[in-house]
Assembly symmetry: C2
Homo-oligomer: 254 residues x 2
Amino acid sequence: MNRLYVPDPLSVGGAVRPAPQQARYLLGVLRLQPGMAVLLFNGRDGEWRAVIESLGKRDCLLRVETQTRPHCIPPDVELVVALVKRGPLETIVEKAVELGVRRIRLVVTRRTNADHTRVHRLQAIATEAAEQTGRVEIPAVTEPVKLEALLAAWPAERRLMFCDEAGDDPGAAWGGSVGRAGTVLAALAPGETPWSVLIGPEGGFAPEERATLRNLPYVTPVTLGPRILRADTAAIAALALWQAAVGDWGGLKP
Amino acid sequence: MNRLYVPDPLSVGGAVRPAPQQARYLLGVLRLQPGMAVLLFNGRDGEWRAVIESLGKRDCLLRVETQTRPHCIPPDVELVVALVKRGPLETIVEKAVELGVRRIRLVVTRRTNADHTRVHRLQAIATEAAEQTGRVEIPAVTEPVKLEALLAAWPAERRLMFCDEAGDDPGAAWGGSVGRAGTVLAALAPGETPWSVLIGPEGGFAPEERATLRNLPYVTPVTLGPRILRADTAAIAALALWQAAVGDWGGLKP
């Protein structure tokens, strides 16, 4: 069944008018008729079944019937991602939402080219992904900030998994002092602490950024295997490992 | 440094003429000059440094100098993927190569629309991904076969992780008899057995396909968390978990 995000309050018997674009989709693309049902969520009241009560040429009225799922907030993991190219960045936002992040923070690093970011488009992608993946809330995509500024305001209790893909010496990092993502995560108890996952730009982090990150008490540098991963692959792999080990995929213990 | 796949034998002092398309890239896009170096691999002899010895208008001659990495075959995991839409399928092939699969088998299932597949294009994507991700061999992309035919010829020692995303009752599957991918994989010893990971089409597997798969002795059905994942997200997540637990990402034990 089709799922829509709406800002309206949702309760038994309530009336909802979808936004013009949503109405066009329901009426023009899906060709829904009065009496047919959709699922609605607003980020606060869970998921509700609603039926089309009446329709005009360009809009329709939905009547809210019953709650189908309670409100639910996913585990506290967020993605911090450098502004990579538009295609991979849009993929990353879509996939991070499917993988249950609470929010997506965009950061500007030394090797970032930041000219092209349209946060409202990324937020629209996040909203659509939340509709399709069955979430009952929408992760926020925040305006880009400089990495230094983000770290300066970092909350003490939140840990940061630094995916050190583009290290200056991957060979040494792999066998050396940097942890393997799977091993690091497998040693944690589920849900213990809020985490962020940091994914760098195509050109990697600058040496001074890497040195800064590695020396911060809340940072855990990790590697993701012996092959070079693109930013989007690394983001999806790291978030999947986090959800499997620490998040709501059920843990690694039998 | 730029990496190229070439079919030629590679040894000290050998001469290699890149294919016309590769020469265009080296000369026209990268504007390489005589004396500049590239890395070569052929799927048999590891990785070698070569320098441009001479160049014409449309081709160039590379002289092989020294081996930079020995030949290396990744752990034995393959991806079996239904023919999903072209965009996601191309993403899946690229990412599966980055995540170290040995080969990619395309399958036709009941709910697959198979009209559009161009295996040679997918093979070209796999080759380019292998060049960029630092592999010294190229995973094969095989011609589509029907799921029944694939299962009828299945090798007894190979296990099949069936990512049962589009189950007819995800709620029951999640809390019920189907294992969680992380838990199942965490219980295995690294490198013990060859594995395949099966990802279904957008519409999911048909009920009779799911029943067949679940009853096969070599099949382990698993879930990938409580949210609905697209096929490309599921493929990347499942392969990352496999590599972290069983493959060459180092295992989950400290």
